[in-house]
Amino acid sequence: MPNENRISRRGLFMKLGVLFNGLVATALAVPIVRFLLSSVTLGHAGAYLTWVSLGRVNEFPEGETRLATFRNPYVMPTDGQTVDTACWVRRIEGDQFQVFAINCAHLGCPVRWFPQSGLFMCPCHGGAYYRDGSRASGPPERGLFEYSHKIENGLITIQAGELPTPGPSAAITGKNPPCA
């Protein structure tokens, strides 16, 4: 007579079967999750950020703000034109530069520079910034995103590669231009 507390042979096999499937599923989950999160882990490793040249320093007249474009350093074969990125380069004087992301610090729309009034204006929700990137009015809570930059061999280069967003991001300096 089988004891009710005893596990039957078939019951045991079923439990083992569940356990076996669980183990296989866990083992398979590792590569699946790693594949899914690869863009996040690469970002954490800082693999996306590189120094990119925007051109010769002489191409940017002193006291003016000009649009510059660069190719995002991290490229996939199907990216097409989306890796072409724009930014605003302000040459204050000599080797003093400020390089602003094109993306509004509110929700990322492309800001436009108006030299006559010395303002960057955003077409989406009406954000405006002064020539030094500090917030002038509208919904943004901070100034424009600024790329780290350096001048080497007469070239102005910026550290770029990630889409600047209002949350913390490695691509942009944490520096928030002072409010005017």
Binding site: L42, T78, T85, G118, G126, A128, G161, G167
Partner: protein
């Protein structure tokens, strides 16, 4: 005929589906539910099937690659026979589906159909609404143009504000560091495989529950839902005053569904497909991105919220709304069903509808955005310049050249970000005008660094002429006293 029925029997002996299908079709429904108010759910399902068909047709041509998607959409619009019509049907079908799901939800809410025992039907319905909106947003991304590109940027900016996990969520959403090929591919996977698969599953569950629990009876004021007695009361009702669903009620569903399909086709024929707008080239910055119709209210809300409220509203608002909808049947699972006895329910629907309608209307003309070209395209109306001095005319030039016009209108032309200046001189005195121009304030940038003293003098001289005829400009009372006592202007 005999052969047909023999073939039918051959299949049914193996499938054994005829009896259950007949049972479902002929199940009794309360007679008064055979109403035109009960047709929205089936119409939403019909449009969903239309979306599946047109979506598969589009996938025959569309290429989900950032470098080719835009060109493949152009090919659909211009080269492939009737490609434009299928795109238009899919685009308009999407608008109709969102609208029908919302109308269905409002009807279910006002008729108390979410109450016992249909709580889970409502909850599944809430998920169906979220998936429909997810399809709408991901569909807009697949129309890979400038609006899609910058719309993704807005989505990423919102996601980045999540505390701690923000940057990781952005990279997960974009599939890389920027909006590019991987982003489009993952939205393609979401739009074509993941969300539709879930939608099909949830729609089946939703319909299954409608069949198992019965269609909500027409709500009568005073007929109160009680958990203990409802089921037997409903059973009694369908027995006493019921009619078979087919054909008694279904003909209205069929007529309405056909009417909706004709309406989608008519819109597609008349208005044509949506976009694509300009190429998704991020170096083209002369663009004014705008979301599709059903997200315009959000676009307006993001412009009008005070900056400090925005992140909490964006992150907490949707959670509160969704949890509220999910918990609704648990908080009011019993009681009155009739909207005649539920004034707060009616007022809530009206409040939400008016709020969303107002925001959507505002987003149509975006009064919060500067008009980027107003300074060079909207001239100062002649009547503001008649009889002015040289200095005042110089001021009008400064007004245009410094882009004041981008935010301030004159003669109803120009931006609406700031107040219209047609009668600004009545509101602000000479000193106040100078202060406002130099220091800004009240959401206006300070122009002190960008205006020379002569420019400021000229600009203020022009602004002082802006008052209606016969209405004197504002002046400070102290000026008059000082003038009287000293004979000089302070």
């Amino acid at each position: 005929m005999r052969i047909i029925s023999q073939i039918g029997e051959w299949f049914d002996r193996r499938l054994q589906l005829a009896a259950p299908i007949r049972e479902v079709a002929e199940h009794p429904v309360p007679r008064n539910t055979a109403s035109w108010w009960y047709v929205f759910g089936s119409a939403a399902l019909t449009v969903f099937i239309l979306q599946l068909v047109t979506g598969i047709l589009l996938a025959l041509i569309y290429v989900p690659s950032a470098s080719e998607a835009w060109s493949s959409l152009q090919a659909l619009n211009h080269d492939v026979t009737l490609g434009w019509f299928i795109r238009a049907m899919h685009g308009w079908g999407s608008n109709f589906m969102v609208a029908l799901v919302l109308i269905h939800m409002v009807q279910v809410f006002l008729f108390g159909a979410y109450k016992f025992p249909r709580e889970l039907t409502w909850i599944v319905g809430v998920f169906l609404l979220l998936m429909t909106l997810g399809m709408a947003f991901s569909g807009q991304v697949l129309r890979f143009d400038q609006d899609a590109y910058w719309g993704l940027g807005i989505g990423a900016s919102i996601a980045s504000r999540v505390p701690f996990a923000g940057p990781a969520i952005v990279k997960l959403m974009l599939g890389g560091p920027i909006i590019a090929g991987a982003t489009l591919s993952r939205f393609f996977a979401l739009h074509v495989f993941v969300i539709p698969g879930m939608l099909i599953g949830f729609v089946c569950l939703h319909v299954l529950m409608v069949l198992k629990l019965g269609i909500n009876e027409w709500p009568m004021p005073g007929r109160v839902v009680k958990r203990a007695t409802y089921l037997s009361e409903y059973h009694e009702l369908t027995k006493k005053d019921g009619a078979p669903f087919v054909p008694y009620a279904i003909w209205k569903d069929m007529f309405f569904a056909a009417f909706i399909l004709i309406a989608v086709a008519a819109c597609a024929l008349y208005f044509g497909p949506f976009g694509p707008t300009g190429r998704p080239d991020p170096t083209i910055i002369q663009t004014v991105p705008k979301p599709d119709y059903f997200f315009l209210w959000l676009y307006a809300l993001l412009s009008l919220l005070p900056p400090s409220m925005e992140t909490p509203a964006l992150l907490i608002g949707p959670v509160v709304a969704i949890v509220g909808l999910l918990l609704l049947p648990f908080f009011s699972g019993e009681g009155e069903k009739s909207w005649r006895r539920r004034p707060i329910a009616v007022l809530t629907v009206m409040l939400i509808a008016i709020t969303l309608g107002t925001f959507t209307h505002l987003a149509g003309f975006t009064p919060w955005s500067p008009h980027m070209n107003a300074w060079s395209s909207d001239p100062v109306p002649e009547r503001f310049l008649n009889g002015t001095t040289a200095l005042q005319r110089q001021g009008a030039l400064v007004f245009q050249a410094k882009q004041c016009r981008n935010c301030h209108s004159l003669g109803e032309l120009g931006g609406q970000r700031g107040p219209a200046l047609d009668s600004v001189a009545v509101r602000l005195t000479h000193d106040q005008l100078i202060r406002q121009v130099i220091q800004g304030g009240g959401n206006m940038p300070a122009y002190g660094k960008n205006l020379s003293p002569p420019e400021t003098t000229a600009l203020v001289a022009f602004l002082e002429t802006l008052h209606p005829e016969g209405q004197a400009p504002a002046r400070e009372a102290a000026h008059d006293i000082v003038l009287r006592e000293t004979g000089t202007r302070p």
